[in-house]
Symmetry: D2
Subunit: 150 residues, 4 copies
């Protein structure tokens, strides 16, 4: 039985946090599609609890959620889920600190988004280059082609 621990996080960012942590701890052993699905499932459960508990987005929360991986699927043990809530008025400094963390993460996201766009462009460009080189090999040289090497 593994356990997802979000650590402290602003309530506004719990869903992303659950997903990031789940990716980090299941790395390799579970397909990304299943991680996204399972995170979504848990997040809907937590969202309801937040409504029951009157959690506001500026509050800081901490969640633990035990789970099992069976045949590539993530099964949450909902009985073991624990949600701690720290109200922003009582834990002012913590709330402010977590707000700062969220701001920095947004700045990081913008830069990583840009990088992702560039790396997708790079992949396309390298495929185009490979294609042109392969065409030159075919029509202008006697060199072995890529498909002949395999």
């Amino acid at each position: 039985m593994a356990k997802l621990l979000t650590g402290f996080v602003r309530a506004s960012g719990y869903a992303n946090k659950v997903r990031k942590v789940l990716f980090a701890i299941t790395k390799g052993s579970v397909k990304p599609e299943e991680v996204v699905r399972a995170a979504g499932e848990l997040n809907r459960y937590i969202f309801k609890k937040f409504q029951e508990l009157g959690v506001e987005k500026e509050d800081v929360i901490r969640i633990q959620a035990p789970f099992e991986v069976k045949e590539g699927l993530i099964h949450w043990n909902y009985d073991g889920v624990k949600i701690e809530v720290y109200k922003k008025d009582e834990e002012e400094k913590l709330a402010r600190a977590m707000e700062e963390v969220e701001e920095r993460e947004k700045a990081l996201e913008i830069a990583i988004e840009e990088l992702s766009r560039l790396s997708n462009k790079l992949k396309e460009l390298s495929e185009e280059i490979t294609k042109v080189v392969e065409r030159i090999k075919r029509e202008h040289t006697g060199l072995e082609l890529n498909f002949e090497k395999e």
Copy 2:
């Protein structure tokens, strides 16, 4: 009925020439595997004819070979194949010129081989970069992942 025309070429290089020309004229309409197969088939036929005709590798030859493409396959019309042979002793300047062409083509091949090696490396590297960026997106941001966009 299409026709492959090698143009003048040194006998030593006829096989490469047949293949290159066949790639150039069938571009797109026939799979590379089939082009390689069909070129090989014609080249075996020509090789036998060369032996019957006593062709030497320094001689210059010119071949035409009619063919049809049916359901993605190349069918040679062997009755229509024409092979002209110019003996090196009678066509000295032509033979020398074709030898020079062959030398330059070898120099080009070396450079293209190097380029092919680099473009394969580039493809691998760009895939590695995409993977690392995707991992960062998953574990450190809430950004949409590549597979979610499709």
Copy 3:
């Protein structure tokens, strides 16, 4: 007069934080070398203050430091520097939260380091490719060379 604000950060990570924030707020207007130098200067000053104040690495701190940029150089106004210290025993949750942030930043650093290594490799590879292509252009085509286009 601009002001550097670190926000909450673990004492162990103050130096990196000062540098990152200084880069973010001076972006473009100051050379990287000067940012690194000025961050180092302020960090030595803060380090002494930490020793005087008995700050431990698990404590959480928050610093503000006013500065001016004159002719590309950063001048700290040391009279305006404010250092707040939150002892780990009194602000346990804050201390724990900042420790978690530090751990995540280390995980991010490892991934970015890998990316940096790959992007340096990419730069070298693309220069190599450009060189080979340029050589092919020179020795096998009549195409305009890069230096002729400028």
Copy 4:
């Protein structure tokens, strides 16, 4: 004293041929700018000779031109320049063969031009990626920056 030998080439393509061969034989020892300049100088001389000799663009020619490299500069020995001309009407097969070579070289040029465009794009893209990675390093990590490593 080195010697440039064009080999057989169609008169229409002599200028490109001189330049390509000069690049190939001086590789590394002479700056590209000087190769281009020296090729241009010789080509103007040859052009005049062609006019005197009534050379037509379909004729095949062969040139040798001795030269010396002194302090990075190419000095042609014009007294040693030899130009052979083969009239297209007398050397029909040679003229036709050289015409074919020229056609293939044009097809190669188009492909290499495309490759050159892609490799320039690759260089720009890899610089953009390096820049974004460096920015992330500066603003989101404590990693050593590229300029600090040197």
